[in-house]
């Protein structure tokens, strides 16, 4: 490697510039269409920008003050976290179950994995409408319950404030189970079968085999899957916007839906400050979770 202190014109020309030009096109698009808007969002979060007129005024921290004084926003922070915790726990537990179930010499293994993964492929808008039907007054859930208990059920689970949030959590989990299961399955297939056979020979019960052998060895997959589900669930937008629009009332409002709605009302400065709050929360949560999970990996 060349030492930076001996950079001559020749090495710049030969060892630096050609590589520099290779990254320039991607860098330009990235800076212009992502980093620049992100930076301007930070700026706009201190202004009363309305989305179009560039003669905005700086209002200092006023947007943030109003934001945290707004009960709807405070609720949406709570909802975002409740949504996130439920999704992370159930998505990973159920995916783990399927991954372990599919990690056998089943004839139908590949077919089942393909089917399980299918919801990930479909646009959240489509999935949202499918589940909106299931939860509707004349929908599948009520139909099944009515047949099961022999009396009629007529609840719209998405317009009842007590069930709406759980209902969207179920839909979100349903989509992403296949994704997490694929991650766990890939990790399981890397665990040597000798190790597991040895445990069997030693007379290990299947719970102990899972608890003391498989689960610790799954640490890398757990890190990936849990971090992805934390990021994905805290910034959730599509599924909620399509299924409930944040309602009934504000029962399913999350930070992301709150932000888009503020934009649609032309409160762009306000929207920007809620996006900044979302960024900070996502960064904090990912950082804490990642530290914990990486620590687990090293303990092995």
């Amino acid at each position: 490697m060349n030492n930076i202190t001996t950079l001559s014109k020749l090495t710049i020309k030969r060892d630096f510039l050609p590589y520099f030009w290779l990254i320039v096109p991607a860098l330009l698009v990235y800076l212009t269409f992502f980093l620049y808007p992100v930076m301007s969002s930070f700026l706009y979060s201190f202004t009363n920008f309305n989305g179009f007129n560039l003669n905005y005024d700086f209002r200092g921290l006023k947007n943030y003050k109003v934001l945290f004084g707004d009960p709807v926003f405070r609720q949406s922070i709570t909802h975002t976290f409740v949504f996130g915790i439920l999704v992370v726990v159930f998505q990973n537990l159920i995916a783990l179950f399927f991954a372990i179930a599919l990690n056998k010499n089943f004839v139908s293994k590949n077919l089942l994995r393909t089917l399980l993964f299918m919801p990930v492929m479909i646009s959240p808008v489509i999935v949202g409408y499918i589940w909106q039907f299931i939860y509707s007054t004349n929908g599948l859930l009520n139909y099944l319950l009515s047949n099961m208990f022999n009396r009629s059920f007529h609840v719209n689970y998405l317009s009842d404030g007590r069930t709406a949030l759980i209902a969207v959590v179920i839909t979100h989990v349903w989509i992403w189970i296949g994704y997490s299961a694929t991650i766990y399955l890939a990790n399981l297939q890397n665990i040597s079968s000798e190790l597991i056979e040895n445990a069997d020979l030693e007379g290990c019960s299947s719970w102990n085999r899972f608890r003391y052998i498989i689960w610790p060895l799954l640490a890398p997959a757990t890190t990936v899957s849990v971090s992805l589900s934390v990021g994905g669930s805290l910034r959730v937008f599509d599924i909620i916007y399509v299924m409930t629009g944040g309602g009934p009332g504000y029962a399913t409002e999350t930070i992301a839906t709150f932000m888009v709605k503020a934009m649609q009302k032309n409160y762009f400065g306000y929207a920007a400050s809620s996006a900044v709050v979302l960024l900070i929360l996502v960064l904090l949560a990912t950082f804490i979770i990642n530290r914990y999970l990486r620590g687990r990996e090293i303990d092995l």
């Binding site: 590589y19 990235y30 301007s40 139908s108 993964f117 479909i122 646009s123 996006a275 960064l283």
Partner: protein, 279 residues
């Protein structure tokens, strides 16, 4: 893994799992089944086969959602964002990994790209529509594609970065002695070696773009420029609670993706599995 000859017979355990997976994806069959019914029939018996198959729903959904136009729009946007994106990301990833001097500069640039992985895409949304109209890319699919290329840059560069680091450098050094420039080496030697990860990346990127709802919702407001997810979204507004008709629209929107999935599923699964194993 050992092959054993008894495995051709389904075990009880396997049947249980098959039933559970089938139950899990019932909602998808439900859509197909009920897209061919009348409204009344759907409400009375959502789980039975249609008494009389109503293809009419599909004809109506097809024209109501402007299927051909939305399909073309989505395809155009996905194609630009994926083709240009993959090309730019692979060039950049190569430059970042193999640069010989100015290490500190290039690691700062790598960090800059990877920054996106942590930033929620929503944060870039606020200034975008006014910005795009200032540079005359308002309501344009090319404009939205550029936005996608920007937002996916971290993901794309990251995926290829880790691959290029594993490619032995000897081949490139030989080419360099023969007088090839880095661009030539990239084009003639590295890119052909990267065919597998580049295809995986292209598949994953096109999925991300094709299915995206948030950016088109904010950046493409005109009816003419709607993508498939958008026209599905607005379809319901027009025909509220006519579920069979909506389901026909959903099936039409799912159809291209299922075909894509059918051909590309090994790439998709391996793309996700690789990330998991590397951790």
């Amino acid at each position: 893994m050992k092959k054993n000859n008894r495995k051709k017979i389904l075990s009880v355990q396997e049947i249980v799992i098959i039933v559970i997976v089938m139950l899990m994806i019932t909602p998808l069959f439900l859509v197909l089944l009920n897209s061919l019914k009348t409204e009344g029939e759907l409400i009375l018996s959502p789980l039975s086969l249609p008494q009389k198959v109503r293809w009419e729903n599909y004809r109506q959904a097809f024209s109501n959602m402007g299927y051909i136009r939305s399909f073309t729009n989505t395809f155009k946007m996905t194609f630009y964002a994926t083709a240009i994106g993959v090309f730019l990301y692979s060039m950049a990833a190569y430059g970042l990994v193999r640069a010989k001097s100015g290490k500190r500069f290039f690691s700062a640039m790598t960090f800059l790209f990877f920054l996106t992985l942590a930033v929620p895409p929503q944060l870039s949304l606020v200034p975008l529509s006014s910005f795009l109209s200032r540079i005359h890319l308002h309501e344009s699919h090319l404009g939205v594609s550029l936005v996608f290329i920007g937002v996916n840059a971290g993901f794309g560069v990251f995926l290829l970065f880790s691959f290029i680091s594993t490619v032995p450098i000897a081949l490139e050094e030989a080419a360099e002695i023969d007088g090839c420039t880095p661009l030539q080496i990239f084009w003639h030697i590295v890119l052909p070696l990267m065919r597998a990860p580049v295809t995986t990346l292209a598949v994953l990127l096109s999925l991300r773009v094709w299915n995206n709802f948030l950016y088109p919702l904010i950046l493409l407001s005109g009816k003419e420029s709607r993508t498939l997810p958008l026209s599905v979204f607005f379809f319901k507004g027009a025909d509220y609670e006519n579920w069979p008709l909506l389901f026909a629209a959903l099936v039409l929107a799912i159809f291209p993706l299922l075909i894509f999935y059918f051909f590309m599923q090994r790439r998709i699964i391996s793309g996700i599995s690789d990330g998991a194993v590397k951790g």
